[in-house]
Every structure is written in C-alpha cells, then in structure tokens.
C-alpha cells in the first residue's frame, strides 16, 4: 500500500461524508463509521498499520496524518449523530399523515341551498318570509287570481285534484281543500286577506302540476313567489328589485331583460331573462346561443286580484313574480336531468354544501 500523504486526508474525509449522506438507515450510517474508524480493517486502522513499514523519517508524519484523519472523521460522525438524533421520532409520536377521525357531516339538498340563498337576498332587501299550505281550494288558487272557472289553467290537464277534500286551517268550518296548489301565488291571496298594505313578502314553497316525470319536468317543484303592494308601486320598481336580486344571485355583471307576456293575475305581465352568467351574453350552449336565460315570470298585480281581496285598485298598485327553484338549480349546477333532485342519491347530494 502506498504511503498516505496530506491530500489523502481530504479525499478520505470527503468519501466518508458521501457515505453518510448515502446511508438510508442508522444501520448503514454505523457501517460507514466502522469502515473508517473501526478497530480492524478500517481506513484509520490501515493507516496506522503503514507506520510499521514506513521509513523511519516518515513514521512521525504518517502517525500525525492518521490522527488528523481520525479526528476529522470522528468530528463528522458526531455532527451526523446529533442530526440523526434530532430527526428520530419522540416516544409516543403519531403518524401525522394518517387520516383524522371525523364525525360524518351531512349535506343540505341543492334545492335548499338555492332557496336559502334567495331567502337571504330578499330578506336583506326587506322582504318578510312567509309560507303557505300546499293543499288549497279553487278560490285561493284560481278564482281570486283572476282565473274564472273556464280558464285554461284550470283544466284537469294542469291541476292535481284530491279525491276527497282535506281540512284546512285548524277548526275553520267550511275550509275544505280540494287541490294541490299549482303556484305559490295562492299564498298572495291568503296574505293580502290577512294584512293591509304596504306589503313586501316572499313565499318559498312546493307546488304541483299534472306533469309527467321526464328530463325537464316533475309533477312537483319549488318556487319563490314575491309580492310588493303599496301606494305608487310601479313596473320600474319591479325592474329595480329584480335587477338587484339578479346581481346578488347571478353576479354583479348581470343584466335584465323584460319581455311582455301573459299571466291572468298580472297586467302588464313579463318574462324576465338574465344575461347568461356563463358567457356574459356572448352566446353559449347553456343559453342556447341567445346570451339570455329565462328565469322567471312577473308583472303588476291585476286590479281584479286586488278587488278579490278587498283592496282599492285605485289606491294600491303592486308587483309579483315567481321563480322556479329547480330551474335556477339546474342552470347553476349544470344538472342535465331534473330527476336527480328527487332521487336523493348520496353521490349527488354530497356534492353540495353542508
């Protein structure tokens, strides 16, 4: 073996450091240490052995180099061991990457999520939240809303009638409910009969139609009805109210478009479109390339409705609207099939907020 010189000390120290860095476990690190510092066959031990065979004038020099190497390696080992100790897991340590233990959390139904948001928006605008019965009588559901007996909306086609009447408000004699309400507007009548203007209410609730179950129709669905009655209420107020709602519900850039339409209980009547929130009016698949999404029907309360509840239509004016909650939910969540809302499949429900 060649006699070690000063440069060999640096080389061996670097080699030891590299082996420590490569060590994948404490056992491998210990083996590396033993290869350099061990009593037998280690690097330091072999340098010591060369002293015996070295020329006398070099013995002292080699002894000094061997000692230098030993101290340098020991110093690196001490530093390594201190670091390794710090990295070791303390007693009672847990694997923090294991999953936590959580009580399961349920989810609100998407129709509730949408309804809650609308209730919140209208509450903030000063609307009172009111609910009404789902079983109704012909007068509240049709007659009082300017739909006389021969009106098309009263055809058996549209309305689900009860085979036998159901009692109405507890104890009210003669209050016999004969049908499932076809719109929440029936509650407008009940509320106006019980209150005097000014009125500012929204009525969320379930309504029923004699419709087949398919991709876009259900025999029951949910609405939010709005009603404002007072002195000097105009169509401009209706526009302003719905525009404010649209900005809150569908984004601050939402624009509103009113198209004249026909409902027996409002005059003038209109359908309301909102600028498509997906393409901002440019035209996309969701808005069928029109840039607009039809969202609700509305109008100024028909004077005949005021007469039915004993309000003076000369003194009071007002507006009303009805929004389909399913329709908004379908568009917002891009649900292809309305039946998903009624299947109650957890894989669907769990995609909505708690």
């Amino acid at each position: 073996m060649a006699l070690p010189d000063a440069a060999d000390v640096q080389v061996e120290v670097a080699r030891f450091e590299a082996e420590l860095a490569r060590a994948a476990s404490p056992r491998e690190a210990q083996a590396a240490r033993d290869r350099f510092l061990g009593r037998r066959n280690s690097v330091v031990a072999s340098w010591m052995q060369t002293i015996a065979s070295a020329p006398p004038e070099q013995k002292k020099q080699i002894g000094r180099l061997a000692n230098e190497l030993k101290q340098a390696v020991e110093e690196r080992w001490r530093r390594y061991a201190a670091g390794a100790e710090a990295a070791a897991r303390p007693a009672g340590a847990v694997d923090v990457t294991l999953p936590g233990r959580a009580r399961p959390l349920g989810h609100r139904h998407p129709l509730t999520v949408v309804r809650d948001q609308m209730e919140e928006i209208f509450s903030r605008m000063g609307f009172a939240l009111v609910e009404g019965p789902e079983v109704e009588d012909e007068w509240h559901c049709f007659d009082a809303l300017n739909m006389p007996a021969e009106h098309p909306a009263r055809d058996m086609q549209d309305t689900l009638y009860l085979a036998s009447p159901v009692a109405g408000d507890a104890g009210a004699p003669g209050d016999r409910r004969t049908l499932l309400r076809t719109h929440t507007s029936a509650m407008q009548i009940r509320y106006m009969l019980a209150h005097t203007p000014p009125i500012r209410i929204v009525v969320p609730g379930r309504v029923y139609r004699r419709d087949d179950l398919d991709l876009t129709h259900t025999p029951a669905f949910s609405q939010i009805e709005g009603l404002v009655v007072g002195e000097g209420i105009s169509l401009a107020d209706l526009k302003g109210t719905l525009a404010a709602f649209a900005r809150d519900m569908f984004g601050t850039g939402s624009r509103l478009r009113l198209r004249p339409s026909f409902f027996p209980y409002t005059e003038p009547s209109a359908e309301v479109d909102i600028s498509c929130w997906k393409c901002d009016g440019a035209g996309c698949a969701m808005c069928k390339r029109t840039g607009w999404i039809e969202i609700l029907g509305c109008g100024m309360v028909h004077p005949a409705v005021f007469e039915a509840v004993g309000y003076d239509p000369e003194r009071y004016t007002g507006f009303a609207w009805g929004i389909g909650i399913e329709r908004v939910a379908i568009l917002r969540y891009q649900v292809e099939d309305i039946r998903l809302f009624y299947e109650n499949d957890l894989r669907f429900l769990e995609q909505f907020p708690h």
């Binding site: 999953p99 349920g106 021969e150 159901v166 004249p260």
Partner: protein, 689 residues
C-alpha cells in the same frame, strides 16, 4: 301560429330579415319558437301566441303588431278588387237559398252563411304553398280557401254540402240527449245536452266551433256548398272541446274568443278568393244572423295612471300612435284619452290592459329601474322557516344528508307504511301515474325508497332526512323524518365501527326535541312496518302524539327493494305538534354553582324487563327526602351475562349531588345514596353489586 313572412308582407311592407322580425315580435310579447326557411327569400316564423291574444292567431293580427312596432301603415281588407286583401262585394239579406235559424244567440251570437255553386278546379299552387307553410294540409279548393281565410284573418270557416242538409236548413241548437255525430275525422261521437251543434232539419251536421260532420262533408261530387262564418261562445266551445277531447284549429280560436265583427268580412274574403280561383259562383246573398251587434268597448286611459303603473312617461304622441296602430280609436279627453277597443281585441277590458299595450310597444327596456322605498319595517319571518333551518342544521351536523321527495307516492307504498293500515290516506282524483296517486301521510316511505335507491347503487352507509308536508283528511302538517342504515359512525383505520341501532336514531329525536324546547317520552308501540319490540311512540307531556321511532321490519324493507338483512332505523316527528308543546328557552342564564358537586356510582341488579324510565322515576321520587340534593342521575353501563342472574341486568348509575348553598359532607352524601338504594330495593327488589 306559423307565420309566413311573404304572407305578412301582403299586409305590411316590413323591411328586414325574418330574424329581425322574430326579434321584434319576441320583445312585443310573442315568443318565437323557431324560424324555418320556406323557399327563396321567404321564411316561416313559429310564433307562440299567449292565450289572451286570439286575434294574433292570424296573419293580420301579427301584421298589426309588426306595423305598430315599426311605425308602418297596415293594409286592411278592402272591397277594391285590386286590393292586396280583396273582399267580394256581396249583397246581404234577400231571398235565402238556405234557411238559417239561430236558436241559441247566447252560445252563437252571430252566424253568417252564403251559398255557392261549385266549379271543380284544383287549388292554385300559391295557396297550397301558403297553407303548407302554415302547417295545414291542402284538401280541395273549397276547403282550402276556408282554411286560408282562417289563417289570414283568424276567422274559422266551414263548408257544408248543401245537398246533404235536410230541408236546406241550418239550425243552431243544443244537442239532443244521446244525439250522435260522425265527425270529419271519422269518429262517431255521442254529444251531451249542453253542447252546441249546427244541425239540418233532422240532425246534427257539425259540432259548433269544433269540427264538421262527415255526412255533410264537401266532396268531389258536391254541387253546391254553404259557407259558414260564425262567432261562438268561448266557454261553450272550450267545454265541448275538452269533454270530447277534440282540439282543432277552429276550437283553439273560438275558445279564446273570436271577433264578432269578423264573420261577414271573412265570408266576403272567401267569396273573393273563390271568384279569383274560379272555384265557384255565389248563388245568393249573405245571410247574417246577428241579433244584438256587439258595441266596441269604451275605456278611459289616464296619463297619470300610465306613469304610476309603468314608472315611466311615454310622450302623448307615442301613446296615441301605439293605440291607433293597434286598431283602437283614441280621442284626447282631460288628463288622458277616451278609447274604443276594436271587437277583435277581446282582451282589452280595463285601463290596465291599455297600459300594458302602451308598455309593450313603448318598450319595457326603456323603463328606468327604481327600487321601491321601504315603507314599513319588515315583519319577522314565518317561525316555521327558522325552526326548519334549526332542525336541518342539527341533522346535517349529525351526519345526515337532506332528501327531497315528491309529496305523493304510490298507494301501495302508502299502505305499507301506514301506522294503522291507511284508511285515512288522501288520494289524487286525476293522477297522471299510479306511482303518484296518493298524498303522503308520512315522510318515511319516501326516505325508505331513497335508501333502497342508494343501496342499489352500492352505497352501504346511508343517512337521510327530509323536512316536508304530510297530508291526511284532517289536514296538512309539516314533519321531519330520518332514515339510517349501515355504519353508526364513519369507517376509520382505528376501528370502532358498528352498525346503527335504535338508540342512534332515538338520540337524534331527543336532540331535535330538546332544541325545540319540547319535553317528550318514548313508550313501546306496535305498527306493522316496524319490528315488534323495537318500536316506540313519541309522546308529549300530556300524551300528545308527536312521532314514531323504530327498526323497519324486514318484510316492509323487502317490499320497497331494500335487502332484508339490512338494519334500517327510522324516526319521524310532527314539527307542528312539537311547536305546540315546545317551551322557548329561558333568556336568563343560571349562575354557575359555587359549591362542588359530589359524584357517587351505584351498581345494582334488577329484573331486565324493568324500564329505565321506571328506575329513573323511583330515584327521583326518593330524591325528595334526601339531605344531599340530587342534581342528576345517569345510566353509564348496562350489562347482562356472566355474574348476573338470568332475566336480570346489572345497571351502573352515576349519581350527582349538589347543594347551591354549601359544600356537602361525605356523611350526608353517603346517607342519601343509601336512601336511594333502599328505595330501589323496596320498589324493584334491586340488589347492590
């Protein structure tokens, strides 16, 4: 209404493409379902006409809207043979070739007729083309020209074969009881006594305003025809059409209200077309039975009212232009206008209707939005809304997801889950499907079906709840129900999973009731769809029925498509009944105790049939005489098995003693424990462990 653009241009020189015209119609209240090309430079606009505008089920009606929208003149039918829409100069009255007797002027306010000799010709191609564009199949020259007039002017017409009318008579009368007629579609129909028919001397030859009869149908061998152009009562036509389930181009127009002013004009248009086509020769005057001619409706329109309702002020000139364009007669009169509505506008009944017309053509987009000022403070919301939200919050926090089902179910499901066999169920008179023929008396069947749906899709742990209306003959109530199957908690690597049982759902029930301030108790109950011995009725303090709780019987689960071996626990509460017994939580907090509580555990062996509620009652009764006030008892272990005799159970009860005014001594606590034990020994033969 399928509107051919070139036909429209007979009436108004509207510039622009079909797309632009469609867009204009859309913003004037006529939704456009589609646009189809129809030959070179032409198109059909499919217009959805709302039920209040029967006048627009015609080319002239939509042309009037377009003319008003664009501010263009409208060409109206005129007696000039060179006019775009020419009317024949036909005399009225005189010697009748046909005798017309109107027996029911209420259901038939006007009936006009004319007789013509038929000249056999083919329908000209231009007419056949226009009819086809309008969605009407050409049949023969005579029939086609009546259909043409219907589309063009909105006046349904009919042609009878005069030779087939017994006695050369047209008698407008109600059907005789049991009278039958074979209609043009070949169907034999039995009529009801209040249906209006057009009869000859013997029998019904047409159902008025709905469909003609096959016997007097115009055929290739017809020599003479009678053209009918009439006005029928809308309600009567609607009733008849609905009861016969027969909807036609004519009935759709009549049931919405036809123009009593139109029949003779339409007849003159038909004659002009007949002469133009050389399809026939008029053989007499026009017979017109119109005993009480309709006045135009006179209405008042106030300028201030326009401003009030629209929240905008269209200029006077604009208002007048719009109304005159729509065919109204307008005269300025202090603060507004006196207006006469044409007879074809059956929908213009009051001032608000006129304001809608102004708004429609002024443009709703030109109205600047405002926000209605708050007039009064907002009243509090319906208390049910806050209550339902609280219940929903509790249940989602407990790991249940919210379900929504229809309010109705199939009778079979309703019966399977009726507590007492379901005689009280409310059924639907006209269900569209047997799946939805019964109103739900309970929310449980809907949830069980939802569980079955989820199990079919491979989910094992399903926890659902629903808040909604339930129906019975006694009325509508709102309830909450839960249904739970699978794991009681969630799967975790540390273990501890177990299946849901009765007490998981009972815990939910207790939490909801506590949150609503209602004190309830459970008593054993029996109902066919729940497992015997694992069923409880939930009662209020005075025994009021609040709800039901239990494990679903395997047979009931199986019937709704759930695996028999699944344990399904359900519970349902009547929220309205809970409201009635709930006591609102006190607003004041209790001061925290100043003296420490002392806790003692007591283990006893008692018969296992003894209800926990009875033991609780005994301890509370004994507590009345104690030196150390008993602040609470809690059962923390219940054990049966080795070391406990047969039919017995070991109970470990934690007793908490606390006095508000002093620290309790060991001696008085010990004495109190002994007293409680003595009561348990005395009452139930309890043995201390």
């Amino acid at each position: 209404m399928r509107l051919l653009v070139s036909w429209l241009k007979d009436f108004v020189d509207v510039p622009g493409s079909a797309d632009e015209i469609a867009g204009t119609l859309g913003l004037r209240g006529f939704e456009v379902a589609g646009i189809e090309p129809a030959g070179p430079g032409d198109a059909v606009i499919d217009v959805e006409v709302t039920a209040n505008r029967p006048d627009c089920l015609s080319v002239i009606g939509l042309a009037r809207e377009i003319a008003t929208a664009y501010g263009l003149p409208l060409r109206t039918p005129a007696a000039d043979p060179d006019a775009a829409i020419a009317l024949a100069a036909a005399p009225a009255g005189g010697a009748d070739r046909v005798q017309v007797i109107d027996e029911d002027a209420a259901l038939c306010p006007r009936y006009a007729a004319a007789v013509a000799e038929v000249i056999p010709v083919a329908t000209p191609a231009w007419m056949a083309g226009r009819l086809q564009a309008a969605g009407i199949r050409p049949i023969s020259a005579i029939v086609d020209l009546t259909n043409y007039v219907n589309v063009e002017l909105g006046q349904p017409m009919h042609a009878f074969d005069l030779a087939r009318l017994a006695g050369g008579t047209i008698r407008i009368r109600r059907a005789r009881p049991g009278e039958t007629i074979r209609t043009l579609d070949g169907v034999a129909r039995t009529l009801e006594a209040d249906m209006l028919v057009i009869a000859d001397a013997d029998r019904a030859q047409a159902i008025a305003g709905v469909m003609g009869g096959a016997d007097s149908e115009v055929t290739g061998s017809t020599r003479e025809v009678v053209f009918e152009s009439a006005c029928f009562d809308p309600a009567s036509v609607r009733r008849t059409s609905r009861r016969l389930q027969l909807k036609t181009e004519a009935s759709i127009r009549f049931e919405r209200g036809s123009d009593p002013g139109a029949p003779v004009m339409a007849l003159r248009r038909a004659i002009a077309l007949m002469q133009q086509m050389c399809a026939g020769r008029l053989s007499g005057p026009i017979v017109d039975r119109y005993p009480s001619p309709r006045e135009r409706r006179r209405l008042r329109l106030r300028r201030a009212r326009v401003k009030l309702l629209l929240g905008a002020t269209p200029p006077d000139a604009e208002i007048v232009r719009i109304l005159e364009g729509l065919g109204l007669e307008v005269a300025a009169a202090g603060g507004g206008w006196d207006v006469a509505a044409p007879t074809f506008r059956v929908d213009l009944l009051r001032e608000a209707d006129l304001i809608e017309e102004v708004g429609r053509h002024y443009g709703l987009d030109r109205i600047e939005p405002t926000f209605p000022p708050a007039m009064t403070p907002t009243p509090p919301p319906d208390p049910r809304i806050a209550r339902d939200r609280l219940v929903r919050r509790l249940l989602t926090a407990a790991g249940l997801s919210e379900a929504v089902s229809f309010g109705f179910i199939e009778a079979r499901a309703a019966a399977a889950f009726a507590p007492d066999g379901g005689p009280d169920a409310v059924s639907i008179a006209n269900p569209l499907s047997a799946k939805f023929d019964t109103l739900r008396a309970s929310l449980v069947p809907g949830l069980v079906d939802a569980l079955a749906h989820n199990r079919r899709h491979g989910l094992r742990d399903v926890r659902l709840f629903e808040i909604g209306a339930r129906f019975a003959a006694s009325g509508e109530t709102r309830g909450v129900a839960v249904a739970w199957t699978g794991n009681a908690g969630s799967e975790h690597w540390s273990g501890g999973g177990r299946d849901v049982d009765f007490f998981d759902v009972k815990g939910l029930v207790e939490q909801i009731c506590a949150a609503l301030g209602a004190e309830i108790r459970c008593v054993p109950a029996a109902t066919p769809f729940l497992v015997a011995g694992q069923t409880a009725a939930i009662l209020g303090p005075q025994g009021q029925a609040i709800g039901l709780l239990g494990v679903v019987a395997p047979a009931a689960a199986d019937r709704r498509g759930l695996p028999r071996q699944d344990r399904v626990v359900v519970g349902e509460l009547n929220l309205d009944a809970l409201d009635a017994i709930g006591v609102p939580a006190a607003d004041r907090t209790r001061p925290l105790p100043r003296h420490p509580a002392v806790v003692r555990d007591l283990s006893i062996i008692v018969p296992d049939a003894l209800p926990a509620a009875t033991i609780r009652g005994t301890m509370q009764a004994a507590a009345a005489d104690l030196k150390a006030p008993l602040a609470g008892t809690a059962l923390f272990d219940r054990y049966q098995g080795q070391g406990v005799p047969e039919a017995s159970v070991s109970l470990s009860i934690r007793l908490t003693f606390q006095a508000p005014d002093r620290t309790l001594t060991d001696a008085e606590v010990q004495q109190s424990v002994e007293q409680i034990l003595a009561a348990l020994v005395r009452e139930h033969g309890a043995v201390r462990r």
